[in-house]
């Protein structure tokens, strides 16, 4: 049963590690489907994590924290929108700027407000999202295999984990079964056609960015209020970029996004698990190689060696209305 236990534990940490990626990846999905490149996912997640933990620590409420995370993250998304939609600035430059402002301001404000070297105070019970035990999980715990899968793998995650996975079908439904989704996808492919139909390209793109902000806010809140008990500086550590890689890997589709994030989360979990242990045949794999694997895979995918990743056609191009 040792091997089975090890597998369950690895998959369990796979889920934990994929959740922030999944939320950020879906966030990027809304914005890129609407034609706005967003390499500022990292920064928005970071401010979300900071605002969430800070507000939760001050108001002693996890839900005020979550709300604040979303609010600040949306505010940053609006800055991105102001620069790249209203002023037709370069979307990538704007995204880079947001990552910088986020990285600097979370440390400065964290240090000034809490004086703990850029950290927020450790969050106690009620200030963070604690694990939820699914009904019956305790009862079936001793049932071999299935019971373990249910009680250890599926049960015992925080509410945000279940929310993240619920967001997958929800996002699919929004994008492919609602009028808003149809228009959102259209504005990423052919904004001029949307404009001709009398729908505001700018307002539609702003709404897409609001969705992005909400989801990156939740992703940040998950990092600082569920996975960890407080904010640590630079705690996103490149997850925003991995989410971007996952988005390309998923070819801008919600269900694929979930599998891409689970794959990248699995690689991460595996690299932690395999640290120092030699594998049969291959021998000892350097941790760094496992960490770089998502990026390497994405480059190979982008090069078209394993299928072609075609981004939304109007992505990265500011829309100039004909007058």
């Amino acid at each position: 049963m040792d091997i089975f236990n090890a597998i369950i534990q690895t998959l369990d940490s796979t889920i934990r590690l994929s959740v922030p990626l999944l939320l950020a990846c879906l966030a990027g999905l809304y914005s890129e489907r609407a034609g706005i490149f967003d390499i500022g996912l990292e920064g928005k997640m970071l401010v979300g994590a900071f605002a969430g933990a800070a507000a939760a620590a001050v108001f002693h409420s996890a839900f005020i924290g979550l709300g604040m995370a979303i609010l600040i993250s949306v505010a940053f998304a609006m800055v991105h929108g102001f620069a790249s939609i209203t002023h037709r600035g370069n979307q990538i430059v704007s995204g880079v700027a947001i990552n910088f402002i986020a990285a600097g301001s979370t440390i400065i404000l964290g240090q000034a407000w809490f004086q703990q070297g850029g950290r927020t105070p450790a969050l106690g019970a009620g200030e963070r999202f604690s694990p939820i035990t699914l009904p019956g999980a305790e009862a079936v715990k001793d049932v071999p295999i299935l019971g373990q899968i249910y009680s250890e793998l599926l049960s015992g995650h925080s509410a945000l984990v279940y929310l993240a996975f619920l967001m997958v079908p929800f996002t699919w439904w929004v994008l492919f079964r609602t009028r808003f989704g149809l228009r959102l996808r259209a504005v990423g492919e052919n904004p001029a056609a949307v404009d001709t139909a009398g729908i505001s390209v700018a307002w539609l793109r702003y709404r897409a960015l609001i969705c992005t902000g909400i989801l990156t806010g939740v992703a940040g809140a998950y990092l600082s209020m569920a996975q960890n008990g407080g904010f640590v500086k630079d705690m996103t550590a490149g997850k925003g970029y991995i989410a971007l890689a996952a988005l390309i890997f998923a070819k801008w589709k919600p269900v694929n996004a979930m599998f891409a994030c689970l794959l990248f989360g699995f690689l991460d979990a595996l690299s932690i698990r395999l640290q120092g242990t030699p594998l049969p045949i291959i021998g000892k794999v350097p941790v760094q190689f496992m960490q770089a694997l998502p990026y390497i895979l994405t480059v190979i995918l982008l090069a078209g060696f394993i299928g072609k990743a075609i981004p939304p056609r109007a992505g990265g191009v500011p829309y100039v209305k004909e007058r």
Binding site: A83, G89, V96, I98, A103, A112, G118, Q288, V299, L302
Partner: protein, 379 residues
């Protein structure tokens, strides 16, 4: 507004507008200082005095500027060809490997004036090769250069961590870095130049790389505005279609521009490794590649502008260190915010104030800004 950005006089375009953007960035940064509970005006005074008040401060400012000139030029060369090279960071980081190989092999044998050219070649070659792969993928397979260079930054970081923690670390040492270079790999300091003006310098790492950076700035100017290759790059950057029509090979121009960009990024590694630390350590680039983006945007992609912008950022880095010392509430990370704001206002919101300035100019003399001509065309 069908031709939204009518021509402004050159001094307004290249001087006034960047200055206004910079000013706004600093005003917003001032609000952050207020939020922290400090006086922004006092902070500004400390910053400027820290950077230029003493000889040591000036030397440090120019030392940081050296690094940023290289990365700024790197971003700019690619940008002239409409390629957004976000990979400067990774190219510079991996170039440290080239320097490590050259220095660790020859530092006991060769004097600095033989080792330095070798190290320049090695760093430039590694940087260029690391840029070659994304360039090739963009030119031949159509993968987006921004995404691939981001990925390559992370891959470069993983490679360097692997090498510095394992292969390159001397036996028995704990720190993830190479052994210290011997005398042959230590570049001569330039502090005596500042001392000529009567300033006193205790210790600052300003070194001969500063001159190399200035030479490179001049060469980039020659390349972009005085050679056929530069003309082709600018043509491609302006309109890929026109370039194709003119018979310019898309593949060749993308790959050449990116390799030059990578080589410049790679040379940045000389300054902190051979000029200051005398080893190759983990994370020695520490974000200078990204500062290059701000520097290139601020300097309007022109070498003179880039040198000035690099000095401005050098000042922020040096003054920021003093600021962190004088005002404990503000750490050096304040620079990161300022950097981000400069990138935002000078880059993404570049045109925000332009319409106001245009109408201001137009109210003085309509002919000077070409407003009449535009109106004539519209009618």
């Amino acid at each position: 507004m069908s031709t939204p950005y009518a021509k402004l006089p050159a001094w307004a375009d290249y001087g006034l507008i960047p200055l206004i953007n910079l000013f706004v960035a600093f005003v917003v940064a001032g609000f952050v200082v207020l939020l922290v509970g400090e006086n922004p005006f006092r902070a500004a005074v400390i910053l400027v005095e820290g950077a230029f008040g003493k000889g040591t401060g000036i030397a440090f400012t120019l030392f940081y500027a050296t690094t940023f000139i290289f990365t700024g030029l790197s971003v700019a060369v690619a940008a002239h060809c409409s390629l957004f090279n976000i990979g400067t960071e990774g190219q510079a980081y991996l170039a440290g490997l080239g320097i490590a190989v050259v220095c660790l092999s020859f530092d006991s044998v060769l004097p600095w004036w033989l080792l330095f050219p070798l190290a320049i070649l090695a760093s430039a070659a590694v940087g260029a090769l690391w840029a070659l792969i994304p360039a090739y993928l963009q030119a031949k397979r159509g993968s987006h250069i921004v995404i691939t260079t981001i990925m390559f930054n992370f891959i470069a970081a993983s490679i360097m961590v692997y090498l510095l923690v394992g292969v390159l670390k001397p036996a028995g040492s704990q720190a993830p870095q190479t052994r210290n270079f011997l005398g042959g790999a230590e570049l001569p300091k330039l502090n005596w130049i500042i001392e000529l003006f009567g300033a006193k310098i205790r210790s600052a790492p300003l070194n001969i790389c500063f001159l190399l950076a200035l030479i490179m700035a001049f060469l980039v100017w020659v390349l972009i505005w005085r050679t056929k290759l530069g003309y082709e790059m600018r043509t491609y950057g302006h309109s890929p279609k026109a370039a194709r029509y003119a018979g310019i090979s898309e593949t060749r121009i993308i790959i050449t521009a990116m390799m030059i960009s990578g080589a410049l990024a790679g040379m940045m590694a000389l300054n902190p490794t051979m000029g200051d630390q005398h080893n190759v350590a983990i994370d020695f680039v520490s974000g200078a590649g990204f500062v290059g983006i701000a520097v290139a945007l601020m300097g309007r992609l022109h070498p003179i502008g880039i040198v000035l912008a690099a000095i401005l950022f050098g000042m922020l880095y040096q003054g920021g260190a003093e600021l962190a010392f004088e005002m404990p509430a503000i750490s050096r990370d304040m620079i990161v915010i300022i950097q981000g704001l400069v990138i935002l206002f000078a880059g993404a919101l570049e045109h925000m104030f332009r319409p106001y300035i245009q109408s201001l100019f137009a109210s003085f003399s309509p002919g000077a800004v070409g407003m009449e001509a535009v109106k004539g065309k519209g009618a």
